[in-house]
Symmetry: C2
């Protein structure tokens, strides 16, 4: 296909990291595995099913790791992801996005192809769409109701009377065509927190709102087997109230990032993702290095976030990435005294990105390493 | 390859734009052609060769259009672009980026493969790299010296005594191995301007500095046939001093964008790029629409730029895109009175991106349209 890189990244398997062309997205295999394992253990301890969201990495390899190697249930945010993971053998896929009017043919295909393709909606129009596109006899649409428990994006507020009537309609309007699987909330508002107690407060509020809503539903005779909340900050420090849910759907934790370490979701040493970049210029008159990573290799996420901006520079607390253009990064010393001899042209710096989801979206391949060498290549899906 | 979308975008050829899956990057064929033609005419009038930079679109189709259909000389910013355009038949490629120590094998291959592969450098170390990697007999490295005429990124300042000595070394140190082709400056500082006179001031200063430097070189007996400056703002309003150059290398103008219209490089109606997005939710309690374009479909570029932020919404000056998460956009009415009935679920909005280079980098395919239908698909190269 014309749009592909015409070099073959698999030639780097076995190579030392220092040989990779830069900018290069690298993943520490041991850290990714440990992040996956810890989240599974945390969920087991709470008696919760872990349905990892795959939107951060968008790779079969990452999803296999996150589900413990078994191609278990996942959440996706685009139909391109749904198709890609379906083709890769995943049979239990929750398309955790408001049902799109123009894409019902894709949804129909996925529902027919998979053992358990699940959709999400937050409006009567969404339910009407499903009714207009019934599945063949013997199959029903498996539907999650999206609740907005304070995040302020998609979802019906649980206090809105329409929430209960919509849940009832999903469950009872056409039980041979549509089934209510559960209630789903995303506590993305945890990203606005300054510390772990604040994250825990939001997790507690969201879990309680979801569980209360399901309890009301059941009291009203509406079957609703599942209840799920997500976000990496909340699931990295789960509160006891979350044990009343049936599943959770965090995603970023597989890599973590600078933002998550600043939120307290992880320690900086848990962050598995780096962007390797090389020094390409010395400019002593303005006390700056140039590196070969610009916003195409990193994204602009975090630009306004003190103290590091878009990325921290591993092992160099004395340096800051102060500017990014398309393919150039500008690096300065905080105290203005840059020791150029320590960073000869061609030397490598490892950037710890502020937002792993955004940085991963910029790279056509991820280089997974162990003991300093490339041991796997992960290929993400793109598009919609 | 595992990382590809598993749907075939070519099925959309001939389809009305309204049927495209969203978010979708669309290009108005007539506008792209007109933008290409006007830039060619402008350069012809000044007696300048146009060497279009391809980093905005990164497509063979865009480069063919920009060079008038003839696969003429282009500038690229990554080796992935260089390899891609070389494979696509382009023979005159300027790799307009500081020579990378770790990638000399790629540069050697390209220099041997192409009739005219040109490199750029701004340090004695760059020249030493070329000397350490001589081309086979009969071929010389064709080198541009990068000058920094106020942009403050890569390049030697023309007032720095090292500029002259480096130019002389490139031209004379090993004339059988290395040739000085020309002097190259990027006036990216035009992007900080508030109006066209300010852009013209920078263009005048940059062109004059480059021409004066080349004049000094020649007076000192150093052959330097070419002189080039670039940036879409400066080349959209060329000043007479630019006619003393031999070529220019703008890139963004093929699409233009909101930023360029705000800088005065173009009229808003010249902007050829849109991101189509659909309404996926109504949230009257917070007076917001959700649309299916987040930062993966648009980038965060322009977020802090008044009045539109990351994108203007075509035909709807009363609306603003006020928030972006990974796959969601939040739209509000400026006066808080959003007429939800005018934007039913599934209805399409066309976003005019702030920064076309950044938005294009997010899309695996561009849908080119004429008379409301998809007439071409352009496939960009990615990676490094």
């Amino acid at each position: 296909m014309a749009g592909q890189m015409d070099s073959n990244p698999s030639k780097w398997l076995g190579a030392p990291l220092e040989q990779l062309p830069t900018p290069a997205l690298t993943l520490d295999q041991a850290k990714v595995r440990r992040n996956a394992e810890r989240m599974r253990e945390r969920c087991q301890a709470l008696g919760l099913r872990l349905r990892p969201h795959v939107k951060t990495h968008k790779t079969l390899e990452g999803a296999a790791l996150a589900t413990g190697g078994g191609q278990g249930g996942i959440a996706v945010s685009t139909l391109a992801e749904a198709r890609f993971f379906a083709a890769g053998g995943f049979q239990d896929i929750l398309y955790a996005y408001p049902l799109p009017a123009g894409r019902m043919q894709d949804c129909l295909s996925l529902a027919q192809q998979l053992q358990n393709f699940q959709v999400l909606l937050d409006s009567p129009e969404g339910l009407a769409l499903l009714r207009q596109h019934p599945l063949p006899a013997g199959k029903r649409w498996h539907v999650w109701l999206k609740l907005d428990c304070g995040n302020g994006r998609a979802g019906v507020r649980p206090t809105d009377p329409q929430a209960m009537s919509l849940a009832r309609a999903i469950a009872q309007e056409a039980p041979e065509e549509v089934a209510l699987v559960g209630v789903y909330a995303h506590c993305g508002n945890t990203y606005g927190c300054q510390d772990v107690p604040a994250v825990e407060g939001i997790a507690r509020g969201t879990a309680t709102a979801v569980v209360d809503f399901v309890t009301q539903l059941r009291a009203a005779g509406v079957s609703c087997p599942q209840a799920s909340i997500g976000s990496t900050p909340s699931c990295s420090h789960p509160v006891p109230e979350m044990s009343l849910l049936t599943e959770v759907h965090p995603g970023n934790y597989l890599f973590y990032d600078l933002q998550q370490s600043q939120l307290g979701s992880c320690q900086l040493e848990d962050v598995a993702i780096r962007v390797l970049t090389r020094v390409i210029g010395h400019y002593p008159h303005r006390k700056q290095l140039l590196v070969d990573c610009g916003w195409v290799g990193l994204s602009l996420h975090g630009r306004d976030q003190a103290p590091f901006g878009c990325a921290a520079i591993e092992g160099h607390p004395e340096l800051r990435l102060v500017g990014l253009t398309q393919e150039h990064g500008q690096v300065e010393a905080i105290d203005g005294r840059l020791d150029f001899e320590s960073f000869p042209l061609g030397s490598i710096l490892a950037l710890i990105p502020f937002h792993a989801c955004a940085t991963a979206a910029m790279h056509p391949v991820y280089y997974v390493h162990a003991k300093g060498k490339v041991v796997e290549l992960w290929h993400p899906v793109r598009g919609w």
